[in-house]
């Protein structure tokens, strides 16, 4: 089971973090934690998701 922001999300195994962000999170002002570790954008293509992984894609959306 892979969770994103605490929720299980199907179909993410073997996808890179970059692919997940491109598919689901178009907002620019995000930061990412992968299994509790902050990861920089240059790492996104290399990090491939597997069972048990926990991803946080935190949006700093300010609103109006």
């Amino acid at each position: 089971m892979i969770t994103v922001n605490g929720r299980t999300m199907a179909g993410l195994e073997q996808k890179s973090i970059e692919e997940v962000i491109l598919l689901h999170y178009p907002y620019a002002k995000i930061y990412v934690k992968y299994n509790g570790r902050h990861v920089e954008p240059e790492e996104y293509p290399q990090l491939i998701l597997a069972q048990g992984d926990q991803l946080q894609v935190i949006h700093l959306m300010a609103g109006g």
Partner: protein, 722 residues
């Protein structure tokens, strides 16, 4: 524009000379009271109690308003006041977003106090002219203009029959009249309403600033709550302040160095990071139109849906490429490096009394693109900008206009109203010409525009009484609460934002809390306690901007590097530290982050008790229309069926198998309404209120809002609840 003819037609009602005194640590230490009815003008001192309990800005507004009114006061009673106040930080030039003023009155829509935050130059120039606040009470027999000359120390009330009423014309006329030269125009600031404010309950105030590069008057708005309607009801045509000599230390701060250092640090970050983040300098708040659509959060067709295939026609790059002028300094006060007040220049109007004119359109803000656009099914940027322009010049709150027009279109589509009732206007989703004509009718004070101008809550009453509409249907789809129209965000899938709208003091405006992403997307506040904590902290923090004369956008529309490594990145701790440093730099009061929140708590709880005093501050008044909580209709449920079915299994614990859409709508509704009630319980407890929504005496004493007349209102409400 015959300025001399306008001058010649003026009749002096009263004039007061006053001494020019320096500002001390952000305070002029006096306020100006004007009674438009009897023409009296007087000076009032700012007391230590006012500074301690109410700080400034909205705090001063509410303080004076409480004294002015009784529980029986209506918005159009002569004793209702309009108070404009900046706050002790208002007017500094070293940090962005420091030119704001807050405007308070009893709202025509809600019957309780409204507070509205506005940019432009009037707030700072009023303070530099020697006044921490301007109180306006009474009603004139004929249209008047109030003029304040902050260098000569003159306050003047004059009858002013010849000037225009609409904002863009009047702003230009008065700037021309009072400026000594082209250069001097930036020292003149004007407050206007507009013709539609005379015929509706959703009128706004325009606050001008003169754009030297464009050589044009720009308009910022105190938009929410119908303050412009109160203004015109009082027969005030305009307020003008003139002050020559703006400079960076006019607030005579306790210590300028930390203010300057903080500002430089911020400006550097803004230049480096904005283009990679929100692009505020390029497009302003409209940068989020397409983001909201992609996340299914863009209000569409009266908040039914969260997006639409045609949003690409009105996304921010369309406005950037085709309409909004780039590369001009667009700050609404000196020193703002965020500079987000975008404008479309040489925009040719296609309808209305100014058809054919090429004008400057201030906008679009996100609210305009969503409210006048997607929420009404309008995906034409030209139409959005034209609606934006006329809302501003006629002085109609664009947020309210968007939501009330979307409501009308929904009712029209459902057959609740028809062309006979609307006088031939086919107000279906997407009909921008009909929406424009509705706006023009509001200006002319005729036709269906008069009914629409009552707002959603007024229309609900009329549609039931006059046209036999089902009140429960209107209650579900009419997006207003406490009488104020919802602003342009979809709270349906975020319980925290449902509270962020429903548990506000003034009504569903997002300036207290904007939690949709934190809750729905990031899932950072999953429990009721988490949500309650967020619905305590963020409203209190954001209230603080309104006490001091600050814009909230620089707080979190740019995020400094390293923010993600902090303990609470959503609070943007570095910027909170900035505000503490600036506040202490200006006032010398030595406040810390906790005391910052405490200052807001005092005013926030005072406003809650003010609402209770006016008959609308208890739990029953925090109820919300069901469309803000979940899908009202099968159509709405089916638009998100997969999500709702999944939630039914995972969260409600019921299988959707074999159930009709209507049954699933009912199951979802029962669950969501119960969730909202649980949220209220958690939030009230966190805020120190009873389950009925009354601040307890213990809490009021703990936070220092223990004025006897305030405790009396609380005690009475607590006794009644028992």
């Amino acid at each position: 524009m015959d300025i001399q003819k306008m001058r010649d037609s003026r009749v002096l009602i009263n004039e007061m000379n006053y001494s020019i005194e320096p500002i001390e640590r952000g305070y002029a230490n006096r306020t100006l009271y004007i009674n438009i009815g009897d023409g009296s003008i007087q000076e009032k001192p700012v007391t230590p109690l006012m500074k301690e309990k109410f700080v400034g800005g909205k705090g001063f507004g509410l303080y004076y308003l409480w004294d002015a009114v009784t529980p029986e006061t209506k918005w159009d009673s002569p004793e209702n006041e309009i108070i404009i106040a900046g706050g002790p930080i208002c007017g500094i030039t070293q940090y962005p977003g420091a030119g704001k003023a807050l405007v308070c009155t009893i709202s025509p829509l809600t019957g309780i106090p409204i507070d509205s935050n506005v940019g432009g130059y009037f707030g700072p120039l009023l303070k530099f002219s020697g006044w921490d606040a301007l109180e306006l009470q009474g009603k004139a027999d004929k249209d008047v203009i109030v003029f304040i000359d902050g260098n000569k120390g003159i306050v003047r009330i004059e009858e002013a029959p010849a000037e225009a009423v609409d904002g863009h014309v009047l702003g230009e006329q008065l700037t021309e009249m009072y400026a000594d030269s082209e250069e001097d125009k930036r020292n003149v600031a004007v407050v206007t309403a507009g013709t539609a404010a005379e015929h509706t309950h959703v009128g706004l105030l325009n606050f001008t600033f003169y754009d030297m590069r464009r050589q044009a008057v720009r308009l910022k708005q105190a938009g929410r709550g119908g303050i412009g309607s109160v203004f015109r009801n009082k027969r005030i045509k305009a307020l003008v302040v003139k002050y020559q000599g703006v400079k960076g230390d006019l607030n005579h701060p306790a210590d300028l160095k930390p203010i300057a250092a903080t500002g430089i640090k911020y400006h550097k970050n803004m230049c480096k990071l904005d283009s990679k983040q929100n692009n505020m300098r390029k497009i302003g708040t409209a940068n989020i139109i397409e983001v909201m659509d992609r996340y299914d959060l863009l209000p569409t067709h009266n908040f039914k849906f969260g997006g639409h295939p045609d949003v690409y026609k009105i996304e921010s790059k369309v406005f950037i490429e085709k309409y909004v002028t780039q590369g001009l300094p667009d700050g609404c006060w000196y020193g703002c490096s965020m500079a987000c007040a975008k404008a479309a220049d040489n925009f040719e109007l296609l309808t209305g009394p100014y058809k054919g004119d090429k004008v400057v359109v201030d906008g679009p803000e996100y609210e305009n693109a969503a409210g006048l656009g997607s929420n009404c099914g309008i995906f034409d940027p030209q139409a959005i900008l034209e609606l934006n322009f006329y809302c501003d010049t006629y002085a109609i709150d664009a947020i309210s206009f968007g939501t009330l027009t979307a409501f009308i279109m929904d009712c029209y589509t459902r057959g609740i109203i028809n062309a006979e009732i609307t006088g031939g206007l086919e107000l279906t989703f997407g009909n921008s010409l009909a929406a424009l004509e509705l706006l023009h009718q509001m200006s002319r004070g005729e036709g269906f525009g008069l009914i629409a101008g009552q707002g959603v809550s007024g229309m609900k009453r009329i549609f039931v009484k006059e046209y036999g509409a089902d009140p429960s249907v209107l209650q579900d789809i009419g997006m207003e609460q406490k009488g104020l129209e919802y602003s342009q965000y979809m709270p349906k899938e975020s319980l925290a934002q449902q509270g962020g709208y429903g548990l506000t003091n003034k009504g569903p405006q997002h300036d207290e809390a904007w939690l949709i992403f934190m809750d729905m997307v990031n899932n950072q506040i999953p429990t009721f306690e988490d949500k309650a904590e967020a619905l305590h902290y963020f409203p209190m923090f954001r209230t603080w901007f309104g006490l001091y004369g600050l814009c909230k956008l620089p707080w979190n529309d740019m995020t400094p590097e390293g923010n993600k490594f902090t303990d609470e990145p959503a609070k943007i701790p570095e910027h909170v530290d900035n505000y503490v440093a600036i506040c202490n730099g200006v006032t010398g009061k030595g406040l810390d982050k906790k005391e910052l929140i405490r200052e807001s708590e005092r005013v926030y709880n005072f406003q809650r008790l003010f609402n209770i005093r006016m008959g609308k501050g208890l739990r029953a008044n925090d109820a919300v229309p069901y469309r803000s909580l979940g899908p009202v209709t099968p159509e709405e449920y089916l638009s998100r069926q997969e999500r709702y079915d999944q939630q039914m299994i995972e969260i409600i614990g019921i299988s959707p198998e074999g159930k009709t859409v209507e049954e699933k709508v009912a199951i979802t509704r029962k669950h969501r309404e119960a969730q909202y009630e649980k949220l209220i319980d958690a939030v009230y407890a966190r805020r120190g209120w009873t389950p009925g929504g009354v601040p307890t005496i213990e809490h009021l004493k703990e936070i220092g809002m223990d004025l006897p007349y305030v405790l009396e209102v609380a005690q009475k409400a607590l006794n009644t609840a028992e």
